[in-house]
Amino acid sequence: MTWRPIALTAGAACIVQMSVPANAQRFTSQAIAVRVDVLVTDDKKLVTGLTAADFELRDMGVAQDVKQIDVEQLPLNLVLAFDTSQSMEGERMAALLAAANGVVAGLREPDRVALVSFATGVRLLSPLTSSRPQITAALNQLSAYGATSLRDAVFAALALRQEDSGRTLVLIFTDGDDTSSWLTAPKVVEAAKHTDAVVYAIGMRQQPRFAFNPALQMPTVVGRSETEDLGAFLRKVAEETGGRAFFASTNADLRTTFGRTLDEFRNRYVLSYTPTGVSAVGWHPLNVKLKSKRGNVTARRGYFAEGASPSSR
């Protein structure tokens, strides 16, 4: 048996330095550094200029000694996962392309982009690349057709996350409910707990559905809006990773919403610590708050220390 040292992200926000047999499925951690991506807002405005000393971070309820990593030093891996189902045809697709090109234009040189499209099936149109012409060409391939495998695509985007020192932002866009995924919502949400990628989800706010009500002799809202399920799923996945979900009202809003997402991601804080006084395995709930300054903190809810994933326990 050969042993090779590797660095893995242990589920969520955890970088684990380990020795692992090449064919092993379970790992023994030797030293752990956990990285937590944090957003601070106050009355919907970004709070900038904070330092590690402003944060209190508890891992399994135990206060940790945190350091701050300069986000400028970390290259960004941007995974775009875009809905290309039939309903995207026409003006909406054009608006999506304009918004995506705006985001790509705002990236820095070392940043990389991947493009996943999803309709009935999921496709990788470009792996992570720093080549802007390559990603532009991939974006130009997008065409609307078919159903919506949103959950499958979200899982694929999370699973494709590469183990490196960069920060990964998974940016999902969809304009409708899932109609053809194999994976269920609880499974994909569970998978989101095992990644250190941050998910930002952008959906379209749809008009309520009406039907003529013979008893009232007038149109009324019927049933539950599809977007309630969609919104709940997008919010849940985003929240598990410390990201956020936004809903655009019109196609024209997309460019602004995409730009806001990248801007927000750039203005987050990356905290790092070596866990002390906590279990080496299993689910680690995280609680991050400001010690004295004002602001709302958004961060992932926890992480799994490797070796104790649900299916192996």
Partner: protein
């Protein structure tokens, strides 16, 4: 046999069970019976029903049977058996995106991230996996998948 469109899984199970009893070799009905049993929470019953579909059945039905069997096993916590069935589904069809994602999910949750990523990369590179390539898509969407060209033509007419 005309199946009642009542929206009731219990009715569907009863109807499919009658078909399977009278025509044991009608594997399309058996696939649907197995799936309905899973959706009703009878995972052991689903596995029994689906395991009776031989590898000599049409590939599309073998694929769906192994995929659904894997799911029913996974829901019982029988993860290794589920993997084997998903693997069998992958081997039975050229565009097995759903089965590949099912396997990748098990790997991912077991900490086999590199293997899961590799599997996902392989399946999302499969240009034939979308649309009607994976039998799960037309199974889950019913006739919607089959009549899509007609629906597109209708949409075009409405826009005019």
């Amino acid at each position: 046999l005309r199946l009642p469109f009542s929206g009731s899984l219990a009715d569907a199970e009863e109807a499919y069970a009658r078909v399977v009893t009278s025509q044991p070799e009608f594997f399309a009905a058996r696939v649907r019976l197995g799936r309905v049993r899973t959706l009703r929470g009878d995972n052991e019953g689903a596995v029994r029903t689906l395991a009776a579909i031989p590898d000599s059945a049409p590939p599309v039905l073998v694929y769906l049977a192994r995929l659904f069997e894997g799911d029913a096993l996974e829901r019982q916590g029988r993860v290794e058996e589920a993997r084997q069935r998903y693997d069998a589904a992958v081997r039975s069809h050229p565009h097995p995106q759903s089965a590949q994602l099912a396997l990748a999910y098990l790997q991912y949750q077991n900490g086999e991230r590199v293997e899961a990523a590799s599997r996902v990369r392989e399946t999302v590179a499969d240009q034939g996996a979308g649309e009607e390539g994976d039998p799960w898509f037309w199974y889950s969407m019913g006739l919607g998948g089959i009549v899509r060209p007609e629906l597109s033509a209708l949409r075009a007419l409405v826009r005019q």
